[in-house]
Symmetry: C2
Subunit: 209 residues, 2 copies
Amino acid sequence: MKEENSIHKNTMELTIFKAAEELFVEKGYNGTSTTEIAAKAGCNQALVHYYYRTKANLFNIILKSKINYMISIFNYMDNRDLSFIENLTIAIEMHFDALVKDKRLPMFVFNEVRNNSELVDVVRDVFNSNVSVMFRKLEIVLQEEIKAKRIRKVSAFDLVVTISSLNMFVFLAFPVIDYILNLDEKGVNDLIQERKKDIVRTVINSLRP
Amino acid sequence: MKEENSIHKNTMELTIFKAAEELFVEKGYNGTSTTEIAAKAGCNQALVHYYYRTKANLFNIILKSKINYMISIFNYMDNRDLSFIENLTIAIEMHFDALVKDKRLPMFVFNEVRNNSELVDVVRDVFNSNVSVMFRKLEIVLQEEIKAKRIRKVSAFDLVVTISSLNMFVFLAFPVIDYILNLDEKGVNDLIQERKKDIVRTVINSLRP
DNA sequence: GAATTGTTTAATAAGCCTATTAAAAACGCA
DNA sequence: TGCGTTTTTAATAGGCTTATTAAACAATTC
């Protein structure tokens, strides 16, 4: 039996984890069976339970890491060599780019969180340990900018929610938009990059005093 | 056996439909069983199949109507007595208010659409019959405003996506935000109304030339 | 190389889920 | 009241799912 919290040393243990990760993110908890995970990992179904005991346990490990990751990808860094607008533009673009690499992430997290009240504490822990610090730093920078009349009055909360809304929605609504516009892969990528530009423009423009 | 496309005359048939609607929207297709639907409707499980044949069939009827409804709630009306900004503000607020009344709607639709490629045609039909007309009308109004230098250059697509992003995200991310802030019902409602104001401010401000 | 430990499999129990079938109950009308 | 139709139920087949168990297999150690 494996140690709790150990690094995955065993090949098959890790293979199972990655197979589960892909399937859960793609099809959700209810849409994925341990049989399917085993098939994808190329092993017997009992092995999934040998390493992770229950489906719910395996799922929770994965969901928690995804929540952590998703919350971490928005990060305003106050580089003093650059203006606030330049720093903010970088933060927006990096956030967007992280989502491009992981298109299904927001859908997965939001969807699975909604009926899993057990996760209250996880979400709040992540928030308290990372996000709230970033919020406070951003709030200070915003106050300066507002006082100097370089931007309109706005809270860190509203600004971050606005940016998250615009960036994440692209990937949340993706299947629908995809259906409507019926684009090939290049068309989709072009659209996404156009959208990124408009989001930056929209956010920056909306901050003018 | 009931007529196809008939109005629900039978009490139990309608009760089952409404129970299914609530459960599917709340817990998704995979998270809901016909047994559960029957229990909620207060009837035998076989009756669900008697009226709707299969679970998938019942689900598709509901999902289609929800897609239709969701797409219909954003509607820019060009009232000539009002300025463009006033008309747009009304459209944003009405869209937001419709979502307040149906908080789980966007999550349900986006989530279920993602793994249901059978819905390509449904989505495209709805789009072609309603949305594209609205888009064209909005595009004309926008061109006027841009030419008159009353707003910056922006496409109808980007504007509608921006508004949808901001409005829908509130409800998509709701459980997460709820967990983080730990508010009571009044606190939640206040937050939502504050958010609505900021969204209008953000969109309108972002359009300035 | 025998024993101990760890990995993997086959088999299977127990439960739930969908869908069907046949019978019972309720209804409507002649 | 009695007959035909519609509505509703009980029973159940068959499939899939999770989780466990015992045995086989592989690896490591002494």
